[in-house]
Symmetry: C2
Subunit: 198 residues, 2 copies
Amino acid sequence: MSIRHGLLALLEGGPRYGYQLRTEFESRTGSTWPLNVGQVYTTLGRLERDGLVAPAGEDGAGHALYAITDPGRAELHAWLGRPVESANPPRDEPAIKLAMAVCSPGADPAALIRSQRERTSAALREWTRLRDRAGTDGRDRRDRPNGPNGPEETARLLVLERLILAAEAELRWLELCADRLADGRAAVPSASDGGREG
Amino acid sequence: MSIRHGLLALLEGGPRYGYQLRTEFESRTGSTWPLNVGQVYTTLGRLERDGLVAPAGEDGAGHALYAITDPGRAELHAWLGRPVESANPPRDEPAIKLAMAVCSPGADPAALIRSQRERTSAALREWTRLRDRAGTDGRDRRDRPNGPNGPEETARLLVLERLILAAEAELRWLELCADRLADGRAAVPSASDGGREG
DNA sequence: CGACACATGTAACACGTTACATGATTTG
DNA sequence: CAAATCATGTAACGTGTTACATGTGTCG
């Protein structure tokens, strides 16, 4: 449900055409969640079907514009005002995977923890890099090198910081898992249950 | 892709029937991600279509058993051995929502932060409670009150700790967002831009 | 001219989710 | 007996995702 409402939010700033929506969506989310162009059109089609957006003619260049409708605005603000349900959290794949691995005699949870840690560490480094140079890469930072950012830049920054904190939490969790497994090593009776210690 | 592989992992322990799979899935994931029974059957159907599981007769009580196949085992272990791609992380709805809110003149990001914080705090309390009494609620803890847990209990514990760490990270992020918005308050020129301070 | 970005769409599919239909068995 | 749980499925739908078809404009 994020893309639908994301597009609605973008359209609240005025009529847009499809390709433009993709660009702006990626810009606001720090290019972290690439959005396939096709997805924009299919989603626009569904939004139109539901009466939340409507075609709004063309701009000077002949682009097919879409505009948000009143029901669309209502739906958007309902969404923005409603916190995300933290009960029934989205299924976390690393967690499920590890939960299954510790119960699966053939699996090697420790190896999974190691490789997952490397993957996540790399992502963390990359996101930290992006955050630290956020806004420093030309564009519109010429005049106010340390001043308050525009809303879009703020949005990018918040998303990156979200990813960074989430990655750090995942790493901490992986450490914790490693400890737990080291403690109760005899928990899962593996085929070769010997003393290899990583 | 988590449910598919989750069911495969359960079936590696031997043939199971649908209803049983649901129970065990919820048990291993700490009842955090309730699984609709219908989903089990549809997923089993798709797994069978793909040759990863196969019907395996009935048990004594007449339950329709399914067993994992060799390709299924291969797929399972490939999945267990492969870390989750941390690039292209799953779209985080709170992050997208807030990113859109800080750019949306009509929205109230501060209010969203507050309500989201309350929601997440409540979930955090609940999960902490569940973790602290994990294993203490009868079942099979009679004999070894502090000893190492069985694999399933370990799995439940790890999942709960994952949720707890994730919730804490989200709360920290929300605080950070509140600070950022307090700093650059003039960032988004709102309709009523006045000095209400929460 | 050829390659590439811009731009709009469609078709097909996967996964997850809910709601419904149906029956057996248990339990108060 | 009635209600609840166990148990097996099916139908329909929604979102997200990819791959493809198509055309325009631009730039080297």
